[in-house]
Amino acid sequence: MIEVQHLTKRYGPTTAVDDISFRVEPGEILGFLGPNGAGKTTTMRVLTGYMPPTEGRAVVAGYDIFEQPIAAKRRIGYLPETPPLYPEMTVRDYLTFVSKIRGVPRAERRARVNDVMERTRVADVAQRHCGKLSKGYRQRVGLAQALLHNPEVLILDEPTAGLDPKQIIETRQLIKQLGGDHTVILSTHILPEVSQTCQRVVIINKGRVVAIDTPDNLTSRLRGSETMYVQIDAGANGAVQDALAAVPGVTHVAQTESRGTVASYEVNSDSGRDIRRELSAAVVNRGWGLLELRPLRMSLEEVFLHLTTEEAPHE
């Protein structure tokens, strides 16, 4: 549905986006993750036809955004970083105007406007001027505007920015519902948002793609080795560390905490090998109490930091 090939965008001497390629399948929700200034907004602006790329091409809904911009734009709904509202217009007038320029047939306009106002929960401010809305409402009117012409592709630049927690949950639910019928790209720097709403994630940093995968795969793939967290009550016996190190497959044991007879350890093992059975047997057979045993997974947050910091071995 969306195909980006070797996209590069330079502003004078600075390269905002550097040779990005990725695909988005129909009905998929793709998360665009990256620190501020990574090139998320620039990529989205190229995809929506706001600006042409310096090199490379982007095909949206079967139309090259640069060769056939009008046909492609008809199929795109776009929420920019700042919701593009006219302060002097009422919400209803504004949405009616957008439906006109987005080519919604006259007969359907009223129904479409009412429908998107319901879905984005802005119907109660229909007669208010856009300039007098709170940040949360502005954001949702911006989202409503993107949905008006029922586009095949939705490009949302930080759709939950400025919303309160309840609105964030509602908006995420709305976006999830939209996936399936629509192909969605959303950018964010809120990590849980990606794992909750997106099927796939593109992590970009300094204009380059550093990883594309599902949130689950990203978190597991990046563990070089498996790490187990164990908490053991070994009574007076102190040779726990040696006992754990003796378990087959264990490469490293580190004590992280100890309080009285209870101590916690992080046990590293060869990746791809589940040592939980051996580990628990080793503890229980010695008559110690196994209080806790769980795999330590890298959270998406750690993956993100791992991928976007300089020292990352991935680069």
Partner: protein, 257 residues
């Protein structure tokens, strides 16, 4: 076409939702009224003198020549001050607030956006001119002016205003700051207004060029009831060129990002 109208409608709504439309229409009405009264008194005195035969006054006083034509020429002063207000925010405000992103990512061509904005400004300007019909109406009610010079005069004013509007649109597309846009527009208008002031001191060739460039010089014939294609071509090409520059400017903005 419906896209152009949608943009024009939005622009007009914007003018009337802000004080701009009321300031432009209100102040131009006051100024026009003031010019009208002055010229009316002048015309009145001249007619009295003509009737009394004092001072070798003209044989017959023509209301078109003595009153309406100078009045129309005075309108160009009003335009000089009011039209920058109309165009200064058209693009700069959209750029500043980010709404330009909505327009440029909607299925619209740059041409449609520029034409819509131009048309919106033109309708506001036409409304401003419409107010002056009241004064002219009085002349027709109490006198017998010829209607043809009045009609061509209005056409001339409409064309001259359209020139100013298209130029203002271009200047507005160059900056995010509407005050800067307004000031530059005013300065450029003024330059086109006074450009032939030095023409009497220069060589005939330069004089010809400067007179041709002067935006007010071309209005003279219109107010006298003369429809000369030379002037029509000047105004229409001025408008077309400014709108073309605006489209190029919006497009180049995309490339620069």
């Amino acid at each position: 076409m419906s896209n152009v109208l949608a943009i024009a409608h939005k622009e007009l709504k914007g003018y009337f939702a802000s004080p701009i439309a009321y300031i432009v229409i209100g102040f131009s009405a006051i100024l026009f009224g003031w010019f009208f009264i002055n010229l009316l008194y002048y015309f009145d005195r001249m007619s009295m003198q003509a009737v009394a035969g004092f001072g070798g006054g003209p044989q017959s006083m023509n209301v078109n020549e003595v009153l309406i034509a100078p009045l129309f020429l005075n309108v160009s002063v009003i335009l000089l001050f009011t039209l920058p207000l109309v165009t200064m925010r058209t693009y700069s405000e959209e750029k500043r607030s980010g709404t330009i992103e909505l327009l440029l990512t909607a299925p619209l061509t740059d041409f449609q956006i520029v034409m819509g904005k131009f048309l919106g400004g033109l309708v506001l300007y036409a409304a401003m001119l419409a107010v002056t019909l009241v004064h002219i109406g009085f002349l027709f009610a109490f006198g017998t002016p010829e209607w043809q010079p009045v009609a061509t005069g209005y056409l001339g004013l409409l064309l001259m205003g359209a020139c100013f509007l298209s130029l203002g649109l271009f200047v507005s597309s160059l900056t995010k700051n509407q005050i800067v846009a307004g000031m530059i527009t005013f300065a450029v208008f003024l330059l086109f207004w006074v450009i032939n002031w030095i023409s009497s001191f220069t060589s005939p060739t330069t004089q010809g060029i400067l007179n041709y460039l002067s935006i007010t010089e071309h209005l003279n014939d219109f107010t006298r009831g003369v429809l000369d294609t030379k002037h029509l071509i000047y105004y229409v090409s001025f408008i077309a060129f400014s709108l073309f520059l605006t489209i190029r400017s919006v497009d180049s903005e995309r490339w620069r990002g």
